[in-house]
Protein backbone atom coordinates (compact mmCIF):
# COMPACT_ATOMS: atom_id res chain seq x y z
CA UNK A 1 0.00 0.00 0.00
CA UNK A 2 1.20 3.50 -0.80
CA UNK A 3 0.13 6.65 0.99
CA UNK A 4 -0.28 9.94 -0.79
CA UNK A 5 2.29 12.59 0.05
CA UNK A 6 -0.36 14.73 1.78
CA UNK A 7 -1.27 11.84 4.10
CA UNK A 8 2.38 11.22 4.95
CA UNK A 9 3.01 14.90 5.65
CA UNK A 10 -0.09 15.10 7.82
CA UNK A 11 1.11 12.16 9.93
CA UNK A 12 4.63 13.58 10.28
CA UNK A 13 3.25 17.02 11.22
CA UNK A 14 0.86 15.57 13.80
CA UNK A 15 3.64 13.52 15.36
CA UNK A 16 5.78 16.63 15.63
CA UNK A 17 2.96 18.61 17.23
CA UNK A 18 1.78 15.82 19.54
CA UNK A 19 5.31 15.22 20.83
CA UNK A 20 5.31 18.76 22.26
CA UNK A 21 1.65 19.56 22.85
CA UNK A 22 2.27 22.86 24.65
CA UNK A 23 4.40 24.33 21.88
CA UNK A 24 3.27 26.21 18.79
CA UNK A 25 4.91 25.18 15.53
CA UNK A 26 5.03 27.31 12.42
CA UNK A 27 4.46 25.72 9.03
CA UNK A 28 8.01 26.71 8.03
CA UNK A 29 9.45 24.96 11.09
CA UNK A 30 7.70 21.68 10.31
CA UNK A 31 8.45 22.05 6.59
CA UNK A 32 12.15 22.50 7.29
CA UNK A 33 12.31 19.33 9.36
CA UNK A 34 10.69 17.20 6.66
CA UNK A 35 12.15 19.10 3.74
CA UNK A 36 8.84 20.12 2.14
CA UNK A 37 7.59 23.46 0.88
CA UNK A 38 5.57 25.61 3.25
CA UNK A 39 3.04 26.09 0.46
CA UNK A 40 2.33 22.35 0.22
CA UNK A 41 2.36 21.86 3.97
CA UNK A 42 0.03 24.81 4.57
CA UNK A 43 -2.68 23.06 2.54
CA UNK A 44 -2.21 19.93 4.61
CA UNK A 45 -2.38 21.91 7.86
CA UNK A 46 -5.57 23.64 6.72
CA UNK A 47 -7.17 20.25 6.08
CA UNK A 48 -6.05 19.05 9.53
CA UNK A 49 -7.53 22.23 11.01
CA UNK A 50 -10.88 21.57 9.32
CA UNK A 51 -10.78 18.04 10.77
CA UNK A 52 -10.08 19.58 14.22
CA UNK A 53 -6.86 17.62 14.53
CA UNK A 54 -4.82 20.83 14.88
CA UNK A 55 -5.63 24.33 16.05
CA UNK A 56 -3.94 27.48 14.85
CA UNK A 57 -3.07 30.42 17.03
CA UNK A 58 -2.47 33.71 15.24
CA UNK A 59 0.01 36.41 16.13
CA UNK A 60 3.46 36.55 17.65
CA UNK A 61 4.38 33.19 19.14
CA UNK A 62 1.48 31.62 17.32
CA UNK A 63 1.44 28.59 15.10
CA UNK A 64 -0.12 25.17 15.12
CA UNK A 65 -0.89 22.93 18.09
CA UNK A 66 -2.11 19.34 18.23
CA UNK A 67 -5.87 19.27 18.94
CA UNK A 68 -6.63 15.57 18.58
CA UNK A 69 -6.40 12.88 21.24
CA UNK A 70 -3.03 11.18 21.47
CA UNK A 71 -4.74 8.00 22.68
CA UNK A 72 -7.73 8.08 20.36
CA UNK A 73 -6.73 9.76 17.06
CA UNK A 74 -5.65 7.01 14.67
CA UNK A 75 -3.72 6.92 11.42
CA UNK A 76 -7.01 6.11 9.69
CA UNK A 77 -8.58 9.31 11.08
CA UNK A 78 -5.72 11.28 9.54
CA UNK A 79 -5.39 9.48 6.21
CA UNK A 80 -9.11 9.62 5.50
CA UNK A 81 -8.84 13.42 5.36
CA UNK A 82 -6.76 13.04 2.21
CA UNK A 83 -7.58 9.77 0.48
CA UNK A 84 -9.73 6.68 0.36
CA UNK A 85 -7.86 3.83 2.06
CA UNK A 86 -9.67 1.06 0.20
CA UNK A 87 -7.73 -1.02 -2.29
CA UNK A 88 -8.38 1.35 -5.15
CA UNK A 89 -8.84 -1.54 -7.54
CA UNK A 90 -11.71 -0.44 -9.71
CA UNK A 91 -14.15 -3.18 -10.59
CA UNK A 92 -17.60 -1.80 -11.18
CA UNK A 93 -17.77 0.72 -8.38
CA UNK A 94 -20.48 0.20 -5.80
CA UNK A 95 -22.84 -1.74 -8.03
CA UNK A 96 -23.56 -5.44 -7.72
CA UNK A 97 -20.92 -7.69 -9.27
CA UNK A 98 -21.78 -8.61 -12.83
CA UNK A 99 -20.16 -12.04 -12.78
CA UNK A 100 -19.24 -14.74 -10.27
CA UNK A 101 -15.58 -14.09 -11.08
CA UNK A 102 -15.99 -10.43 -10.16
CA UNK A 103 -17.82 -11.34 -6.95
CA UNK A 104 -15.03 -13.75 -5.97
CA UNK A 105 -12.35 -11.15 -6.66
CA UNK A 106 -14.28 -8.54 -4.70
CA UNK A 107 -14.35 -10.91 -1.72
CA UNK A 108 -10.54 -11.11 -1.75
CA UNK A 109 -10.12 -7.35 -2.11
CA UNK A 110 -12.56 -6.82 0.76
CA UNK A 111 -10.34 -9.05 2.94
CA UNK A 112 -7.37 -6.84 2.15
CA UNK A 113 -9.34 -3.64 2.75
CA UNK A 114 -10.61 -4.92 6.09
CA UNK A 115 -7.08 -5.69 7.27
CA UNK A 116 -5.82 -2.31 6.05
CA UNK A 117 -8.61 -0.48 7.85
CA UNK A 118 -8.15 -2.51 11.03
CA UNK A 119 -4.42 -1.79 11.03
CA UNK A 120 -4.62 1.93 10.31
CA UNK A 121 -7.62 2.31 12.59
CA UNK A 122 -5.81 0.78 15.55
CA UNK A 123 -2.56 2.74 15.49
CA UNK A 124 -2.97 5.94 17.46
CA UNK A 125 -0.74 8.99 17.37
CA UNK A 126 0.40 7.92 20.86
CA UNK A 127 1.38 4.47 19.60
CA UNK A 128 3.26 6.05 16.69
CA UNK A 129 5.14 8.31 19.12
CA UNK A 130 6.14 5.21 21.13
CA UNK A 131 7.31 3.45 17.95
CA UNK A 132 9.35 6.50 16.92
CA UNK A 133 10.78 6.75 20.43
CA UNK A 134 11.82 3.10 20.40
CA UNK A 135 13.56 3.51 17.05
CA UNK A 136 15.26 6.65 18.30
CA UNK A 137 16.51 4.98 21.48
CA UNK A 138 17.81 2.01 19.50
CA UNK A 139 19.69 4.48 17.31
CA UNK A 140 18.33 2.99 14.11
CA UNK A 141 17.59 6.36 12.44
CA UNK A 142 18.01 10.03 13.12
Amino acid sequence: MKLQIASQLAIYALLELAAEPDRHFSVAEIGDKFNVSSHHLAKVMNALGRAKLVRSVRGVGGGYQFAGSVRRTTLLDVIQQFEDVDSGVSLTGGSSPATDEEAALRGILDEIDNITRATLGSITIGTMLKLVGRRRSSGSMR
Binding site: R71, T74, G121, S122, I123, T124
Partner: protein, 165 residues
Protein backbone atom coordinates in the same frame (compact mmCIF):
# COMPACT_ATOMS: atom_id res chain seq x y z
CA UNK B 1 1.13 -12.83 43.63
CA UNK B 2 0.24 -9.25 44.58
CA UNK B 3 1.48 -6.13 42.89
CA UNK B 4 0.57 -2.62 43.99
CA UNK B 5 0.55 -1.00 40.55
CA UNK B 6 2.33 2.33 40.42
CA UNK B 7 2.55 4.97 37.68
CA UNK B 8 5.47 4.81 35.28
CA UNK B 9 6.46 6.92 32.25
CA UNK B 10 4.60 4.51 29.98
CA UNK B 11 1.69 3.90 32.33
CA UNK B 12 -0.06 7.02 33.60
CA UNK B 13 -1.91 5.10 36.30
CA UNK B 14 -4.36 7.43 37.97
CA UNK B 15 -6.09 4.96 40.28
CA UNK B 16 -4.52 3.12 43.19
CA UNK B 17 -5.05 -0.56 42.43
CA UNK B 18 -3.74 -3.92 43.48
CA UNK B 19 -3.12 -6.60 40.84
CA UNK B 20 -3.50 -10.10 42.24
CA UNK B 21 -4.59 -13.59 41.25
CA UNK B 22 -8.36 -14.03 41.04
CA UNK B 23 -10.20 -15.70 43.91
CA UNK B 24 -13.51 -17.57 43.82
CA UNK B 25 -15.16 -14.61 45.53
CA UNK B 26 -14.20 -12.38 42.55
CA UNK B 27 -16.12 -14.36 39.95
CA UNK B 28 -19.49 -12.70 40.57
CA UNK B 29 -17.83 -9.31 39.98
CA UNK B 30 -16.05 -10.64 36.87
CA UNK B 31 -19.36 -11.94 35.49
CA UNK B 32 -21.03 -8.58 36.23
CA UNK B 33 -18.21 -6.60 34.59
CA UNK B 34 -18.24 -8.85 31.53
CA UNK B 35 -22.01 -8.47 31.28
CA UNK B 36 -21.75 -4.67 31.49
CA UNK B 37 -19.20 -4.71 28.68
CA UNK B 38 -20.58 -7.39 26.36
CA UNK B 39 -24.27 -7.38 27.26
CA UNK B 40 -24.14 -11.14 27.89
CA UNK B 41 -24.10 -12.91 31.26
CA UNK B 42 -21.98 -16.08 31.03
CA UNK B 43 -21.80 -17.43 34.57
CA UNK B 44 -21.04 -21.01 33.51
CA UNK B 45 -18.27 -19.89 31.18
CA UNK B 46 -16.54 -17.81 33.86
CA UNK B 47 -16.86 -20.56 36.47
CA UNK B 48 -15.14 -22.88 34.01
CA UNK B 49 -12.45 -20.32 33.21
CA UNK B 50 -11.80 -19.84 36.92
CA UNK B 51 -11.40 -23.60 37.39
CA UNK B 52 -8.92 -23.73 34.50
CA UNK B 53 -6.89 -20.61 35.18
CA UNK B 54 -7.74 -19.32 38.64
CA UNK B 55 -7.96 -22.32 40.90
CA UNK B 56 -5.51 -24.77 39.52
CA UNK B 57 -1.94 -25.02 40.59
CA UNK B 58 -0.71 -25.14 37.01
CA UNK B 59 2.16 -22.68 36.66
CA UNK B 60 1.37 -21.61 33.10
CA UNK B 61 -2.15 -20.19 33.51
CA UNK B 62 -2.93 -16.73 34.89
CA UNK B 63 -6.20 -15.11 35.92
CA UNK B 64 -5.38 -11.69 37.34
CA UNK B 65 -7.74 -9.03 38.65
CA UNK B 66 -7.33 -5.33 39.45
CA UNK B 67 -8.75 -4.51 42.85
CA UNK B 68 -9.40 -0.86 43.78
CA UNK B 69 -7.55 0.56 46.76
CA UNK B 70 -8.91 3.39 48.89
CA UNK B 71 -12.22 3.55 47.01
CA UNK B 72 -15.20 2.14 48.84
CA UNK B 73 -17.64 3.25 46.09
CA UNK B 74 -15.81 1.40 43.27
CA UNK B 75 -16.79 -2.06 41.97
CA UNK B 76 -14.77 -4.82 43.71
CA UNK B 77 -13.03 -5.75 40.43
CA UNK B 78 -11.97 -2.92 38.09
CA UNK B 79 -10.59 -5.20 35.43
CA UNK B 80 -9.16 -8.62 34.72
CA UNK B 81 -6.79 -10.35 32.35
CA UNK B 82 -6.42 -14.04 31.60
CA UNK B 83 -3.66 -15.83 29.78
CA UNK B 84 -1.63 -18.97 29.53
CA UNK B 85 1.58 -20.29 28.09
CA UNK B 86 0.95 -22.62 25.17
CA UNK B 87 3.44 -24.51 23.09
CA UNK B 88 3.74 -26.06 19.67
CA UNK B 89 0.24 -25.33 18.44
CA UNK B 90 0.36 -24.14 14.82
CA UNK B 91 4.07 -24.87 14.94
CA UNK B 92 4.64 -22.10 17.48
CA UNK B 93 7.40 -22.24 20.07
CA UNK B 94 6.12 -21.65 23.63
CA UNK B 95 4.48 -18.24 23.94
CA UNK B 96 2.05 -16.45 26.24
CA UNK B 97 -1.49 -16.05 24.97
CA UNK B 98 -3.75 -13.33 26.36
CA UNK B 99 -7.21 -14.82 25.98
CA UNK B 100 -9.32 -12.20 27.78
CA UNK B 101 -8.99 -8.64 29.02
CA UNK B 102 -11.65 -6.31 30.32
CA UNK B 103 -11.68 -3.01 32.18
CA UNK B 104 -14.61 -1.27 33.82
CA UNK B 105 -15.85 1.15 31.11
CA UNK B 106 -16.12 4.15 33.44
CA UNK B 107 -12.49 4.02 34.52
CA UNK B 108 -10.81 3.37 31.18
CA UNK B 109 -7.79 5.43 30.10
CA UNK B 110 -6.59 5.54 33.70
CA UNK B 111 -3.91 2.90 33.41
CA UNK B 112 -5.75 -0.17 34.74
CA UNK B 113 -5.53 -2.09 31.46
CA UNK B 114 -1.84 -1.23 31.15
CA UNK B 115 -1.17 -2.40 34.71
CA UNK B 116 -2.93 -5.71 34.04
CA UNK B 117 -1.07 -6.14 30.75
CA UNK B 118 2.28 -5.44 32.42
CA UNK B 119 1.48 -7.87 35.24
CA UNK B 120 0.67 -10.75 32.91
CA UNK B 121 3.72 -9.90 30.76
CA UNK B 122 5.83 -10.28 33.91
CA UNK B 123 4.17 -13.64 34.65
CA UNK B 124 4.86 -14.88 31.11
CA UNK B 125 8.46 -13.76 31.42
CA UNK B 126 8.83 -15.63 34.71
CA UNK B 127 7.47 -18.70 32.91
CA UNK B 128 10.35 -18.44 30.48
CA UNK B 129 8.61 -17.22 27.34
CA UNK B 130 9.73 -14.15 25.42
CA UNK B 131 6.75 -13.68 23.11
CA UNK B 132 3.11 -12.96 23.80
CA UNK B 133 0.13 -13.07 21.47
CA UNK B 134 -3.54 -12.32 21.39
CA UNK B 135 -6.34 -12.25 18.84
CA UNK B 136 -8.79 -9.38 18.30
CA UNK B 137 -11.72 -9.14 15.93
CA UNK B 138 -10.74 -6.61 13.29
CA UNK B 139 -13.58 -4.17 13.93
CA UNK B 140 -12.91 -3.96 17.67
CA UNK B 141 -10.92 -0.74 17.45
CA UNK B 142 -10.82 -0.21 21.20
CA UNK B 143 -9.03 -3.49 21.91
CA UNK B 144 -6.83 -3.17 18.84
CA UNK B 145 -5.77 0.34 19.87
CA UNK B 146 -5.03 -0.87 23.38
CA UNK B 147 -2.85 -3.81 22.35
CA UNK B 148 -1.07 -1.73 19.71
CA UNK B 149 -0.43 0.90 22.35
CA UNK B 150 1.21 -1.77 24.48
CA UNK B 151 3.63 -2.50 21.66
CA UNK B 152 1.93 -5.50 20.05
CA UNK B 153 2.38 -5.75 16.30
CA UNK B 154 0.92 -8.00 13.60
CA UNK B 155 2.39 -11.48 14.00
CA UNK B 156 3.37 -14.10 11.46
CA UNK B 157 0.03 -15.96 11.51
CA UNK B 158 -3.10 -15.31 9.47
CA UNK B 159 -6.33 -16.55 10.99
CA UNK B 160 -8.53 -18.46 8.53
CA UNK B 161 -12.06 -19.76 8.89
CA UNK B 162 -14.83 -21.41 6.90
CA UNK B 163 -18.56 -21.90 7.18
CA UNK B 164 -19.25 -25.63 7.54
CA UNK B 165 -22.07 -26.53 5.18
Amino acid sequence: MQIAATPTDDNPLKLPILIRRARAADIAAVVALDERVTGLAKRGYWDDIFKRYGQSTRPDGFFLVAEPQDRKDAPPVLGFIIGEVRAWEFGSAPCGWVIALSVEPEIRLQGVGEALFEAISAEFKKSGVRKMRTMVIHDNRLHLMFFRGEGMMAGPYIQLEKDIE
